[in-house]
């Protein structure tokens, strides 16, 4: 079997779960096996997952995700159902849980995969970027189960069907009393750049903190969210949760607009797989132009207001 581990965020199913089911099904087909899902969260969401063509849904009922509890409970489940492959989201929660689980099972774990394949020999190939995206490594695991965390938005998602399949089976919780979640402060939805379809990022080229007002306005007009380079974050212009790159978040929106960002390798590591990239920069030699589809040369303080006007005019013309 292929076992995928679903993720819950503030009582909702995290979308990475559907990526994992989609990819899990593809792999399962090639090795002629089924797909199970282990879900850590509430019963209602586990019920919803029955609409995705899974063989079984194993529910570890929990109000708040606790790594140690998840690892112990899933380890006993895995020892019982013996899957060949285990996929977990390469999210902050997933990357905190998976290594504990792999150590319990004494098996290999490949981090943050962007490609998974079964070759002619039936080997499970795990492909991942390393060294900040400068190298793609293909990794195989000698032990069972073969475990991988999977990057968000790179796999084909599973689709919902009206029919239900499989059933929910409860997993025995192994409570953990050395850790307590005291409080949870949601990051406002517009701040979660990993979910965004459109990201407008500002960098050092903004010259001042106030520059982000313009970026925000631009983002509002396009229905996007605000991202940032590390230099903008380090200068205290914007919160770290907006940082894109090696030491910030990895994003993959439909549209990424880099404004006043040079395009260091560390920044590129977090955004170069975006679907469409636009760069606004006054320096023609800025490396950001090497990964951009479209470039606009010049002072962003002149360009962005013009772009805002154009977008608004276009909307008026189209009557929306």
């Amino acid at each position: 079997m292929v076992l995928i581990v679903g993720e819950e965020r503030q009582e909702k199913i995290a979308p990475i779960t559907y990526d994992l089911i989609g990819e899990g099904k593809e792999l399962a087909e090639k090795i002629e096996e089924g797909v199970d899902c282990a879900y850590i969260g509430n019963r209602k969401n586990a019920g919803e997952l029955l609409h995705y063509g899974l063989d079984r849904v194993f529910l570890l009922e929990s109000d708040e995700f606790i790594e140690e509890e998840g690892a112990s409970s899933l380890a006993s489940l895995i020892e019982k159902i013996k899957p060949t492959i285990v996929l977990i989201g390469a999210t902050n929660r997933g990357r905190s849980l998976a290594p504990r689980l792999a150590v319990k099972l004494e098996t290999g774990l490949t981090a943050d995969c962007t490609g998974l394949e079964i070759n002619e020999k039936g080997e499970f190939l795990q492909i991942r970027p390393a060294f900040g995206g400068n190298v793609m490594a293909t990794i195989v695991t000698k032990t069972l189960p073969k475990m991988a965390t999977v990057r968000y938005k790179v796999m084909d998602r599973a689709h919902r069907t009206d029919e239900k399949s499989g059933s929910i089976q409860d997993v025995e919780p192994v409570p953990y009393n050395k850790k307590k979640i005291l409080n949870l402060y949601p990051i406002e939805e517009r701040g979660d750049i990993t979910e965004a379809e459109i990201i407008i990022s500002g960098g050092k080229g903004l010259g001042k903190k106030d520059g982000f007002k313009l970026i925000e306005e631009f983002a509002n007009v396009l229905g996007g969210v605000v991202g940032a380079s590390r230099k903008a974050v380090d200068d205290g212009w914007i919160d770290y949760s907006h940082q894109v790159g090696l030491s910030g978040r990895t994003v993959k929106p439909k549209l990424y607009i880099a404004c006043g960002i040079s395009g260091s390798v560390q920044h590129l590591a977090g955004m170069q797989t975006s679907e469409h990239i636009v760069a606004i920069n006054e320096n023609e030699a800025a490396p950001i132009f090497k990964v951009a589809d479209v470039g606009i040369l010049g002072d962003l303080y002149e360009i962005i207001p013009r772009l805002i006007d154009e977008v608004e005019e276009y909307r008026k013309k189209m009557g929306s």
Binding site: N92, P99, L109, V135, S247
Partner: protein
């Protein structure tokens, strides 16, 4: 309080050499520096020491002998003691074998708190910290962006995609820290000179009582079978604001 900081000596800049035989990093070539993310771990330990009495900071690294340069940096920054885990048998370790080896050394040292960086710039897995915690059978909190309280228990802020969580955890435990947690200091010239001459303690396989099957390449369930250099280069098209609108239309964004 005994704090252990895990410091990974990593290649400086982008000069990386991958061995064609094993697919692992050739750590023999080029200089090794402190993994930039581990500077935040070292800084946080020093900040705790500045605030509390009787804190001892030990920096540990598993690396080839020349990894001592990273530990000298750590001494210059303010670590009290450093230990280099080095042995031919440790070479080629994946995250499972690395976590096991580091955990064994940390257990031998004795500790109240282990601090790791959030990830390494070369391995880039973020797996070693939680892996060590599991081998030591202690709690861990990854992605810590601030320590709110530190006494018998610890309260930390953990950064997730959708929220920050305030987590209370009993000691001993392990945390991995993000760059939001502090601003790492630079070592003074005097401390640098002193660290240059310091004797770096080294431990090998026998010191840890591990068997060779559990370490390095032999103790690693994963193998790198191929490496490739991807290219994300595109041919950029320079446009004006009208062209921008046309592109957005074509991409179905407008």
């Amino acid at each position: 309080m005994r704090i252990v900081v895990c410091i990974k000596p990593t290649p400086e800049g982008s000069e990386l050499a991958i061995s064609p035989e094993t697919g692992t990093l050739e750590r023999e070539k080029g200089d090794l520096i402190i993994n930039p993310f581990d500077l935040y771990a070292v800084e946080e330990a020093i900040k705790i020491k500045e605030k509390q009495k009787e804190v001892e900071i030990t920096g540990i690294a598993m690396a080839p002998p020349k990894g001592d340069s990273a530990l000298r940096e750590a001494l210059a920054l303010g670590c009290d003691r450093t230990i280099l885990l080095t042995d031919r048998e440790f070479a080629g370790a994946d995250t499972l074998a690395t976590s096991r080896t580091l955990a064994k050394a940390i257990d031998k040292l004795g500790f109240d708190l282990v601090i790791c960086g959030m990830k390494s710039t070369d391995g880039d897995t973020a797996q070693v910290g939680p892996g060590i915690a599991e081998f030591l059978d202690i709690s861990h909190v990854s992605w810590v962006s601030s320590i709110l309280e530190l006494g018998e228990k610890m309260v930390v802020k953990q950064m997730l995609e959708d929220c920050y969580r305030e987590v209370e955890v009993g000691l001993p435990c392990l945390i991995t820290v993000t760059k939001e947690i502090n601003d790492p200091r630079l070592p003074s010239f005097k401390n640098k000179l002193k660290a240059k001459k310091a004797e770096i303690e080294t431990w090998g396989l026998e010191n840890l009582g591990l068997n060779p099957q559990e370490c390095g390449l032999k103790g690693s369930p994963t193998r790198v079978v191929k490496t490739a250099h991807p290219s994300y280069r595109k041919e950029v098209e320079f446009v004006d604001e009208k062209g921008f609108i046309e592109e957005l239309e074509e991409w179905r964004i407008l």
